[in-house]
Symmetry: C2
Subunit: 190 residues, 2 copies
């Protein structure tokens, strides 16, 4: 019985995180209420504080879960990842989770935003994962790994933004090819 | 008297556009009302429809005005622009108007957003202005000017986003240097 209860508890938590991720992406963090989330998940409202403390706790759980898959893919050693690294970068641009990131970004840039710090940690984790995959000797002279990483992560964010607003105006395959020609040997090559 | 009235009309229009630009950047497009804008501008609410038709018309005026300065700077022939082109790109990252762009972006990516089309036009105008400054012979083989432009504009958007959320984590001067080493000769050089 105890095992069954734990399974049910984990299942509710999972359903709530999934519902919150969808709603944050659709309506933003601020405009989403516990009622919306509970209704979408089909779970009683009272269980949200029990699982997550408050809405920020729930956001943290959403970011952890949604980002984990992305980070795991980016951070895995080259030998364990199939395919072209640049195809994987471009794959990130197409991921539905980037919709959540963009929606939250607008709230995060406000000076007094409660989610700003969480968002900063998300960017930092992304940069760290990308940086771990860049061999120091592949970097051109005069470039720090930190700055290079900001540029690479920035390009992904900004290309996504343009593609998202007008998919017909952005040829993602051509952008990948452009990125390949610009990156130093050992980074852009398959 | 007629001249005076025209001056007053232009002055009200200018005040309304400035107030709307500030409020859209602070609260987003959807959450800003005519009342907010009129209060901030110190001008009667009724004059907004008279000047702009509706809120979308006002947004268009805001984007036109705010973007114009940026585009003019980017699009001016190299000889007429002082300083390093990359410093100018990095200058764009620091502009307050990018706050407006990021806030609106989150609303624009929603499928049914009324501002999506306006935002797509803004990106297109930015790309066109940047593209006009890229000499075709400076591009590496296998890269189209369109794709290269998406990448460059994307890097600016995405670096801004990271800097905005955590200024202490992003060294903009180092990012400019990294950009310079990656860009082909004739583009990144002063």
């Amino acid at each position: 019985m105890a095992t069954r209860r734990i399974q049910r508890t984990e299942e509710s938590r999972r359903l709530l995180v999934t519902a919150a991720a969808e709603l944050f992406a659709e309506k933003g963090y601020r405009q989403t209420s516990f009622i919306d989330i509970a209704d979408r998940a089909g779970i009683s409202r009272g269980s949200i504080p029990w699982h997550f403390g408050n809405k920020l706790g729930l956001l943290e759980a959403v970011l952890d879960e949604q980002v984990q898959g992305v980070l795991t893919g980016v951070a895995a050693p080259a030998g364990e990842r199939p395919g072209d690294p640049l195809d994987q970068v471009m794959g990130f641009i197409r991921l539905p989770v980037t919709r959540l990131f963009i929606t939250l970004l607008a709230e995060a840039v406000e000076g007094d935003s409660p989610i700003r710090e969480h968002y900063a940690r998300l960017h930092a984790a992304l940069r760290q994962a990308v940086r771990a995959r860049i061999p120091a000797q592949a970097l051109p002279a005069g470039t720090t790994p930190e700055a290079f990483t900001v540029l690479l992560v920035g390009a992904v964010i900004g290309v996504h933004a343009q593609w998202r607003v007008a998919p017909e105006a952005v040829d993602l395959d051509a952008v990948r090819d452009a990125m390949r020609t610009l990156l130093p040997a050992g980074l852009g090559q398959a």
